[in-house]
Assembly symmetry: C2
Homo-oligomer: 346 residues x 2
Amino acid sequence: MGGDHGIAVTIPACVSFLRSESGAYLLLVGRQADIEPALSAALGGGDSLRQRLEIVDAPEVVEMDEAPASALRGKRRSSMRLAIEAVRDARADACLSAGNTGALMAISRFVLKMLPDIERPAIAFQLPNRSGGTTTMLDLGANVDCEPGHLFQFGLMGSALVTALEHRESPPTVALLNIGEELIKGNDTVKQAGALLRESSLNYIGYAEGDDIYAGNCDVIVCDGFVGNVALKTSEGLAQMMGAFIREEFSRNWISKLMALAAAPVLRRFKRRVDPDRYNGAALVGLRGVVFKSHGSASLAAFEAALRRAYDAADNRLLDRIRASLDQVRANSNDPAGSSSVVLSS
Amino acid sequence: MGGDHGIAVTIPACVSFLRSESGAYLLLVGRQADIEPALSAALGGGDSLRQRLEIVDAPEVVEMDEAPASALRGKRRSSMRLAIEAVRDARADACLSAGNTGALMAISRFVLKMLPDIERPAIAFQLPNRSGGTTTMLDLGANVDCEPGHLFQFGLMGSALVTALEHRESPPTVALLNIGEELIKGNDTVKQAGALLRESSLNYIGYAEGDDIYAGNCDVIVCDGFVGNVALKTSEGLAQMMGAFIREEFSRNWISKLMALAAAPVLRRFKRRVDPDRYNGAALVGLRGVVFKSHGSASLAAFEAALRRAYDAADNRLLDRIRASLDQVRANSNDPAGSSSVVLSS
């Protein structure tokens, strides 16, 4: 029900996803009276897909600008709440929403609870990089003030997420976001988090700077939610500005318009490489269940990409991987020589 | 002497700047034995320019990777130190360096001292935006942990800087960098800084998010140095990646190469609009003197742009403007109804 376009986008995206992913089964949680006609229109004649989806009627909807506390306490029959409860009750392997991020976080935390020893959920997102792969960044806004132990836990969960989403053989490289060496090197929180990561069994490679997000030299970049959110939004703003400038230059006069026509295939390929639709779908990690968040303004293709990401995470046992990483840290901390106990009990 | 290219770039840039700015007079501070031949080569036959420049011999050079404390205590005859002393002694109206940022900050602070009631210097930088103007952002790395009063002071200095550099009639708009409304709205420091800015005589317009840096809807964006540095470096990384992708797509095969040739004028105009060279030159504000920092890897054109920025700031009495703003805040705080006293005494 959520997002800027609601079921006008989500339902056709679900149908398209089911067509391409023959092993998937979807619960569509929302107002049945609204979903039914949209679904019939999207399915067309292909009724066989109906066997792989089910509508779960939810009378209430969390508004995009609603306070998380109000959504949590006041709307116990919202589509968001029922979808997350389906994950809790093992009726679903993952939940995806394009709705209110704060409410999704609050309800997920309340309904699913946190994994043992994880204190805070984080929002993790995959961004394209120069090497043609992706860089996974977390946290992107769930936690404004972080302690070193939280940043360490983000590294651990980010590493497990990349392993699950990208079918890695070798352990993903993890870096900690910091500022230039010329300047005062980071704050105390970052320094202490660096020490925890260095001591851990993660494939920690040290500090990264902002430009490393797109350089393709590390798989996971860890930062607090304020910094991560600013980095992500700054990127969105710059990409939009550059896109607008390219369009303006190519439509300046009839010669440049002709050039735009001629160069269209090249420009299309370029656009596809940085297309935000392909990267839609942020993971809410740290919970006892798989929850993904789609951008509110997601297009059909973007929402489908987020569905695929949530499906892949569940299919590749994201939770088991995070649990295994936690067990490993716990085992090390029981070792008298280990010094990681502080990390999971901070 | 500083930067990645040293006098191979700085000297020709100085000569080019002098040619275009007939009112300028330059002190070239560095190793005279190195500067003399480079200068002769750059000047060619145009000896009349020589009357508007002077070499100040400095036997020592601060290395790019040297610790600020070592540069400050150990090198009292460095080019950086002597250049800043020339500002202190009113032999120069502004200082520009492409050298070690941390050392430039430390030596400037020690030699020039802070303006009254300003506790910390900040690094301010102008970025291009969609409306064709620039957005001035500070701090970009001088201060990792900021209190609300510091962020307020950055707003004040940023506002004065934009007034000086852009010859504004109306007071520049000032915004405070924060994260999305859906999420937990910023930390306590940001909230308290917002309250101080709201009460002040600045043209404060509220919170901005990362994408507003490039949207062109505010003149000054204030943030702590960690966040600002990450936003700037993230932008550099994304712009480099997009540039690399465009080049790759246009050189993929002979058809796309032909397209690149044909579209070259359009692509050149686009490139010029986002060319980092044009925006080179960060101001170190809060000091009792005008100090600018060029990017270490600056090209000739970029270093010349930074020279022009430093010249404009001095020419438009940047320091007087910051002092006047401080006086105004102080006057308000003497007013019994005023509540800004906390800001300048925090």
